[in-house]
Each structure stands twice: as structure tokens, then as C-alpha cells.
Symmetry: D2
Subunit: 350 residues, 4 copies
């Protein structure tokens, strides 16, 4: 039972099929071919807005170049204390931007609190040479702890951004999972709520390698050709990303896969909730379930071949974690089967 | 007729098939899964040597991180005046290493002259703080102008490197094309001739996206985990690269594809040589043909739908290019068909 | 009454006199002349230890290059939440190291708590590519809030460092003020307590521009020549720094100036303590006094020409700051006169 | 006899006296005090133009931040093949700009040839992501080989810059020496000839440490506060630079010192020209003399205590250097005495 991460899954057959289909014939390279154009048009349709689209190899690259694109010398970004861009990118945001610092903003449920954000930004806007100057805010949707910003949450945050003239970036490594959770449109969850830049991730939701950085204002992307090349992230046969995105977005495959993953997470959560051997740390809203396991249970599940990751207690949460208990993260994906959940359930209650 | 670049081709069906085959099931991510291990073992076999293998998205990343891995503060690298790493990486080597300068070394036929290399290195070894200090030499195999370093060429260069304690990097974006041209073993063309680090490219020769940085001395790669992550180039589902390389290396597919591309280039060169409408700039040794076209011919071919790139006259060559003539580069690949050459031949002689 | 900062003072006459004295005659440049050597020898004597000495223009440069010298790719440093190197260097540590992140460690009285440090380091030692890896700890002596690490504090912290193989850096922008406060030897406050690298500041204590980075293990400084040049910080006429340091260290001038500044701070603190118009935020241990002023008093003092800086409430302190009160920092220096304090006292009690 | 470099001299007594004079009293720090303002006003007067002035510790910093201030991602600068900014800054321009490459432009007499500059820029304007894009041109005045760009030379170069929308930077480490050589006004040698940014060096001409970066269009300097801080180059007691510049510019001291140095160089050149033991490599125009010495003479002079530097033959010159001869550089300064030249003359003819 593999709940370690959604990137432990491979790729959906439709994604691989698209790679086979588009493998023959010659096309211009480096993002200039017809398939690239078609994928860009498709994204514009789906987002109901002009978009400037940049294919990239990883979410780390997307998040880092989002900040780089809008950075100013001495720039300071703001993100939730537990945000991936702060804690898990191995210093890539700092390196690829030439030294941006990403300051933590508190907030419960893994989400930035808009009023705390305002307080944190103020000393940096306009800022001083010693402290630096605010240049962007980044939110993660779904969050690191499997919760989801509501549209009103995003709007409140983008309101703070607008008051300080700062762009709002959304790290959408699990964009589709959040979207189907909110049951809203891509436009509503992004530019209509004030998001300016989106890391649009396909990899975790059934692609092999399909990440794109989207700018709703193309002017913000004016340095992207050079930023992408300078960091070694310009694919030559970029149509291999385009082909994946086209299949991903075709007939709502992406939404279907996300709905499945979320449903599996809900079922997994229910299993845990109904067990007296474990408990939920907080309710899941997308495809990540956080559970608290007593040490005996933890060992027993591991030994039985359940894959999950230990997780540090998040900054803004009080899970009532007791001595001898472990917080673990379990992630579902398009590959998770009902039978996996059933087997886990049997195991848990055995 | 597409002779613009070998990255205008898609991917060989066997490569796409491998992606389909390995798409299901869960595997550890970020380069730690069994398929990654298998691809690494396969590379070790093929190179008859322990290798430290790092999958990367692009050749630019591979070349830049090769230099970064062995860089020292104030470091200066040496490459041929026309080398890709100097002229065509958009500043990525400079940026990803934190400021390395890549100094030009002259040499005819697109190849570094070993004795000139020695002269160029001397002031930088040990160097001064003002000038900087030598830290690596990089050669391109096959070269930017479609020629190939012989084993004795590589050995002469690695001898200079050894005298100054410098690692030798080979940019093998077209490694397979050079290898079958020399008809030697991968080991002979690399570590047996003194190469320490290899950018091993599969993308141009039939893969979708398969680049690896190989170190024959794992100690040189000790910072690679962090270098790769820090620059946003650690794939999560890295098995999609492993799967491509496994198919690529299976039953000599890679050599077969390179032999085909080279044979097509030889045929294309013969066509040009036998024509009185164009002439070869120099004889091709791999899968790139450089031709000189009078302006009328150039226009006629373009209008007829032949894709090629204009090329600046290389630093070390005297092609006798006259007023009204253009130097063009034509590249063949696994996708190039004999019928393409035949059509081109007819067109040229029409 | 100037209590804004100790860098609002000029230079002690002995410092300027040294510049006049050493202005004539030719000496080798770029840190290679006899005066440089003499200053280095003098520092070695004073610290009773071999030292590798690097003159630098600013404390920002010293702190940043200290981290750069011992950095590893993916490196993470640890400092107090309020440390200058984290909060006030304008991103220089991040930029000059190529992306180091400086993580906050809590602790009261402006000082890192050694047991909290141990907890914070553990996940980063050895660390992961996502999180990064620990590479150094930095403490500020005297601290940002005018307190002083005792020798046992430093020893406890260096013990944690040693357990994780990390170098310990001391930001000694106000080294002399801390030293005379502890009344110990330079050796005791540094290498004897486990400090490996020292930013030795002279500027705030009576020099014009005299900062040096000192390594007690020269091997740690092996990249310094290149790091210093690469960041544009190698003075040509470096003897102008050497001359300042020689005068500074002559006959204990530096200690005398620091004792004076500290004494002025103590007197200023007493004035505040005895007043019923203001109160001390916490007791000063060096040359910085933090006071809490009711709004009316604050305005009155400003209007009367008292220069001080507003200060944010430090991370680890609870000052009982009430609505309508302001926390301010007042700094004394070699230039502060008893009459300044007397005038301030009169003003406060007027 | 010290002809090694003009930075082997100390500081003129007037410079040191200014430091003594301005040492007492409190002033705002970090470039915000009244003395800073006064020095800026004085520079504006002397240049007859609004100037945005940035004090910096070194010429390396000034040149590097000049490029950083106007850089664009993927940026490529152009300078003479022998320019300091290309050959002698230890990679600082590349590092401090985040990867700018400085491409060589040929030209005789150490000066960029304007028509060759145009050819070199064209492929980079607008450029490609692979090659990068032109972002600035830098000239050195006086040049690395002691020659001086005439006003018409500068105007021709700035014309090329204007045609491509590129700023023109002048590295004026020896600005005063060039100025008195041309006998024109500072305005004529800079903005009136199309120079946009000037590294204005005082250190080599009698200051201790006085370098400033001047922008004639303040808009170009908009990122300078952050660039300067981020690279650790913001002096706290910046008035010590202001004080030096005020004394330097007072009553034409700077011109007097430069005239003296140039006169000494002319006398030194005459000595060599009249000798049959050595010959001039080319005629000096400022304070640097390049001579060709036969090996015996070279050894004899060294042994007699004459300090000079060996020099590589410049890219654009043909000095007729024969086997057994050495090219050396001899530099005069404000400290060079007529008696030094006389002693050298006797020695040479002995």
C-alpha cells in the first residue's frame, strides 16, 4: 500500500499514449513548435484568460522562477511558515533568484492568515536596504498539509498584495486536487481571486513530467526566456511536455484523476476516523491525509508494507500529539485503488 | 526536408513504448527507485567502469553542473572558442557555477589544440586572485562543427589536464554519433582516454528527454545531490528518464540510431559534394553537414521547404566563404529518411 | 544627544593620526605589504593563537564571507531569530554565499539557547536535498539587544557545533564592548570557547573603516583570497586598514574606548532606571540601552534633539510594552560624553 | 624605485588631513549624512550635471555594480579584449551580476574599435536565449596599456551604444590621468561624449580608499541601494569616503596630482627612449609606461631594486618583442619623485 507520495505513481496510460502519438515527425524545438502553441491555447481556454506559458522540468523550478521573474534586488517574499517554497526546495528559490529571502507568515490550517500577512509585509514595504523590500507573496494550493484555501481566503490575501503592489504566486503542485475540492473554475481559483502567477503542476496528478509556469499578465514574464535558459531548464524537445498537457486536459482527464485521488483520500480518512487504533490530525480537503499513530500501530503498519512519511508537526497546528505517537502523511493519487484502501482498513482494524 | 536540428525529431517508438510500459505501479521518487538503479547499472556496464549517474533535464544543465561540481571560487574553465558551453548556453554555466568564466582555446577542425591549451592554462595554474584559477577543461564530442576528436586527441588534452590537476569534461550531446564514427568503445572514448565527467545525451539521438551527467570518480560528484536540487533540476518521477535510457541502451538501439544518422549525413554530404550548386565547408564526421550555398541556391532551397540553419564561420576555419555565399548547417537524425536525402538531391540538382 | 548608533561617531584621533603617519612611502598592495603583516602579527598576539586575517570593508561583508568560506552547496546556517546576519544584511549572506538560508534559533536575552539549537540542527544534519544541510552556526557578541554571551553560553553552543561537525562563527561587530563587559581575554571569548571564525569589528568602536575576518584554523580560509576578490572586497591600499588596526590595538586603545562606551551606557541606563518617565526594557551589558518610552515622552525627547532608533520588540523578550509605548534603542560610543548623559538626564527629568 | 603600481603609494597628506578633520562629531551613517551630500554636490558641480553617486570600497566593486545596475537576465557586456573588467577582476563582474559574460572587442592601442564593436554587438541585439542579449559596453579610461581614448573615440563608441540602446560605462580607475592628458573637462570626457556610468577612482591618484560609481541618469541607478548592500559594500561611516573626495576635489588637487604623475611618466618614457638599453613598447599617454627590456637589463634593474611588473603582450599590439626580451609595466603616481626618475635614468645608463 503506497501512500508515500503522489509522485511514487507512474503516469496515466493516456499520458504515455500521447507521447507515443506525437513521437514521429519533425517540429521546431525549444518551445516554438505547433504542439507547444496548441497546449498554450488549451490552457488559455481552460483559464478563460490570456496566459503566458512556460514549460519547466520541476515544481521547484516553477516556484523559483516565479519569484525570479518578479524579483527586485533586495527582494523578500512571503509564504506560509510550512510552505514548500520555504522548507523543501533545497535553497533553489534563494539560489535561482540571486538571494531572495522567503519570510514565514503564520496561519492555521496550513494557510496564510491575511491579517498577519499584512503585518509581516508592512516593515518591508517600502522596506530598507538592511531589511530588504517585499516583492511577492506565495501560497500553496492545496497546502502542504492537505487543506485548501477557499476563494475568499485567496481574495483576502490578494487584497493585501494589491495594497502593497505585490504579485501573488500560487504553487499549484496539487492544483487539480484543490480545484475539484472547491468545485470551482480554474479562473475563479486564480486570476478572478487575484492570483498573478501559477505553478501549474501535472506531474503529481498523472503526468510523467509536466510542469508549467503561467502568468496572467504576460508583462510579468518578460524575462522568462532568459531566466529559463540561464538556469538550464529550457527543454529542446519541449513538445513532450505539450503532448502530456494536451492529453491531461483532454475531456477533463485531469479533473477526473484529481477527483479520484481526493475520493480515495476521503475514504482513507474515514477508515482512520472509524478506527480506534489511529486518529486524523485534521480533516483532509484534497488528496493528503494526516494521521496520528501510536508507536505500536506505526510499527505494525510499516512492517505490513504500508508506505507513508513521518511528518513534523506543522507550525500553526495543535494536534495534541502525545509522547509515543507519530504524525504521518499519507497521499493518494490517480493510481490508488479502492482495494488499497480496503486492505489498509483491514490491516488497521486487524 | 528537416535538417534544422536533431532535436526537431520526436522520439523513437521504443522510447515511447518504454514510458508506456513503466507507467504503472509505485516506485520511490527523486532518483531513488529501482528503475533508476537499473539504468545506472546499465550505464556502468556499458562504460565498463563505476559511474556516478545524475539524470538532468537538459544538456545545458548537464554541462553547467559538470563545471559547478568541480568548481572552485575564482574558477576558470577552458573550452574551444566555438564550444556550446561558451557560446550557446545563455549564461547558464556562468550562473549555475556562481561566476565561472569559460576561456576560449583555439584549434582547427572545431577541436582544442592540446599545445595551445597548455599555453592558455599556464597563467591560471595556480593563477592569481585577479585572473582566477583554472578548474576544468571541457571538450565537445562530436564538436559543434560536426567533427570528432580522435582518441589520441583526447589523450593529448587529458595529458595537459593531468599536468595541471584539472578534470576533463566531455560534452556528449552527440556522444553516440561520435562513438560510432570512431568505432571504439564508450570506455575508450572516455575514462580510458582521460575523461573524468561526461554529459551523456540521449535526447538528440531518439529520446524525448534523457540527459545524464556521469562521473567516473564518484568523489567528484559529492555535491551533486545539492547542486541538482538547488538549480531546480531534480525530477520527482525520475524513472521516466531511467525508462528512456533503458530502452535507448537495450540491444544497441542507441548505436543503431546514431549509425543511421551518421549514414544519412554522409549521404547528404556526398550529394552536396557531387553537386555544382553547393560545396561542403569541411567533411562531416558525425551527423552534421556544413555546406556553402550561393545566395540563389540558398533562397531556392528555403523556398522549396528545406529547413537548415545559417551558421557563423567558425573561429578556427577558413572556408573560403565568398561574398554572396552562406554557410549553413544541416543535421540528420534517427528520423531522417533516405527519401529525404533523395528529395534534397533532386532539388539541388534540379 | 546622539544615541542613534555607534557608527554615527567619526574616528578616534589616534586612528586618523595613524593614517597620516602611514600615508607616505611605497608598499606592496592588495594585502601583501609589511603593514598588513604587522597588523596580522598583532592580532595573533592579542588572540594568543595563529590567525588567518582578512581585511574587509564592512561587517556585512565579513559575516557573509564567513558563511561563504565554510559553505557547502545546499547549506543552511543557524542564528538567533533577531541576529543581524538574518535580519539586517539586506540579503548579502544569501547572495554572497550563493543561496545559504539562515534559520532562526529561539532564545531569551537575544541569545541562542543551546538546547534549542541542538533541536533545530538535528533535521539538517545530515539533512536532505529538500531541506538542505547544516553548515555553520553564527552568534552575535554583543547581541543585537545589547546583551552578552557568557563564556559558558558560548561553550555550550560550540559543544552543539562540535557534535555536528559545524564551525562556529562569531559576529563581533561590537566585540570589544562584549569583551570588556565579560572582563576576559580575546582568546577566552573565542577559540578557547570553541569559536572558529570571528568578524572582528573596529569601525563601531572608533575606527573609520576597519573590519577583519579571522579564522583560527587557516584551512577554513583556503578560499578566502578568491571569495574576497570575487565579491569586490579586496582593497588595493589595504594598509589603510592595517594602519587603523595597529593604532586601535596599540596600548589597549580598543579596550579603553569600549570601556568608555559601556560605562556611558551604564550611566544612561541608570538615568532611565531612576526616572519615572521611562523604563529599561532589560538591563544593558555592553553599549546599547533599550528603553520604553510613553508616547508623550518619546515625542518630547525627539523634539529636544535626542537621536535614537525605534526598535521592534525582540523575538524572545516580553517587555510588557503597552499601547502607547515605544521601545527605543540608544547606543553609546567612544564619542559619547558624560555631559551628553547629563543633558539627557536633565531633559528626562525636566 | 617603485614603479610597480600607483596603488603602492599611500595617500596624499591632504587626504589624511581631511580624515583627521572630519573625525569628530556625530553624523548620520550609511551614506545619509551631510558630508556625503556635500561630496555629491561637489561631484555634480565638477561634472556640470546631475549625478547619482555611490561610494564603494574598490574599483572592482564599482565596475561590477555598474554592470549589475543595468543588467538584464541573459545579459552580455562588451569590453576591450584586455580590459580590466574582463581580465583582472577575479570573476567579480560575473558573480556580482549573476552571470554576465563580458565579450572581447578588438582594437589597437588598447582601445575598442567602434566599427568592430558594432559587428560584435549585432548578433546579441536583440540576441537569442542561447547567445544572450547585449546589455552594456564598458571602456577603460585611461586604458590598461596607458593610452587614452580621445573624445572622438568615445563619441564613436557611444554612437554604437545609442544605436543599440545600450548604456556606456567608463572604468575611470585612472580618470584623472586621462583627463589631464586630454586637457578637457570632466563633462566633455563623460556625458557630453555619451558616457552614462562612470567608475570614478580616487584611490590610485592619492586617496586611501575613495571610489564612486556615478550615474548621469539617476533612473539607471534605481537598484543601487540594494545592489550595494546585497554585495556587502555599504560603508557605515561613509563620510570617511566623502571626506577624502572633498579634499581630493578641493582646489584641483586631483588634477595637480594626476598632472604630476603623468609628467613623471613622460620623463620616465623619455629616459627609456633615450637609452639604448631599453625601448618603449608604445608611447604613454597617462601615467603608465610600457618598456621592453633585454633579459640582462631586466635582471640588472630588478637586482638594483627597481619595482615593476611583467606584462603579457596586449591583444591588439605588435611590439616586436623578441626572444630574450620582456615587456614590463612601470607606473608613476603622486608619490613619484623626480629624483626617482633620475636614479632610474642613471641606473639604466650605468
Amino acid at each position: 500500500m503506497y501512500f508515500a507520495s503522489d509522485n511514487w505513481a507512474g503516469a496515466h496510460p493516456a499520458i504515455s499514449a500521447a507521447l507515443t502519438e506525437h513521437g514521429s515527425g519533425f517540429h521546431a524545438a525549444y518551445g516554438t513548435g505547433p504542439l507547444d502553441r496548441e497546449a498554450e491555447r488549451r490552457l488559455a481556454e481552460i483559464f478563460e484568460h490570456e496566459v503566458s506559458v512556460w514549460f519547466l522540468p520541476t515544481g521547484t523550478a516553477a516556484n523559483s522562477l516565479a519569484l525570479a521573474a518578479v524579483n527586485r534586488i533586495g527582494g523578500v517574499a512571503f509564504a506560509h511558515a510550512d510552505a514548500h517554497v520555504r522548507e523543501d526546495e533545497g535553497g533553489a528559490p534563494e539560489f535561482l533568484t540571486g538571494g531572495v529571502r522567503v519570510r514565514p507568515v503564520p496561519g492555521s490550517s496550513g494557510k496564510i492568515d491575511a491579517s498577519r500577512l499584512r503585518e509581516e509585509i508592512e516593515p518591508f514595504s517600502p522596506g530598507t536596504v538592511n531589511m530588504g523590500r517585499a516583492m511577492a507573496v506565495s501560497i500553496t494550493q492545496a497546502t502542504e498539509i492537505g487543506t485548501v484555501y477557499g476563494l475568499e481566503d485567496i481574495t483576502a490575501i490578494s487584497g493585501v498584495c494589491r495594497d502593497h503592489g505585490l504579485p501573488l504566486h500560487m504553487d499549484g503542485a496539487r492544483f487539480a486536487n484543490a480545484l475539484v475540492s472547491l468545485d470551482c473554475s480554474p479562473a475563479e481559483m486564480t486570476w478572478k481571486s487575484g492570483v498573478d502567477i501559477l505553478s501549474f503542476g501535472g506531474t503529481k496528478n498523472g503526468c510523467w513530467c509536466a510542469e508549467a509556469l503561467l502568468f496572467f499578465d504576460p508583462e510579468m514574464a518578460r524575462d522568462m526566456p532568459w531566466l529559463r535558459k540561464r538556469s538550464g531548464q529550457l527543454f529542446s524537445k519541449s513538445r513532450f511536455v505539450a503532448a502530456q498537457f494536451l492529453a491531461y486536459l483532454e475531456n477533463g482527464l485531469w479533473l477526473e484523476l484529481a477527483r479520484h485521488a481526493n475520493a480515495m483520500a476521503a475514504r482513507l480518512a474515514a477508515t482512520i476516523e472509524n478506527s480506534n487504533r489511529a486518529r486524523l490530525a485534521w480533516p483532509p480537503q484534497a488528496n493528503e491525509v494526516f494521521a496520528i499513530l501510536p508507536v505500536g500501530e506505526y510499527d505494525r503498519l510499516l512492517a505490513a508494507g504500508v508506505h507513508f512519511h513521518d511528518w513534523p508537526e506543522p507550525a500553526g497546528e495543535n494536534t495534541g500529539l502525545a509522547e509515543g505517537e507519530t504524525l504521518v502523511r499519507m497521499v493518494t493519487s490517480f493510481e490508488t485503488k479502492e482495494t488499497d484502501i480496503a486492505r489498509f482498513s483491514e490491516l488497521l482494524d486487524a
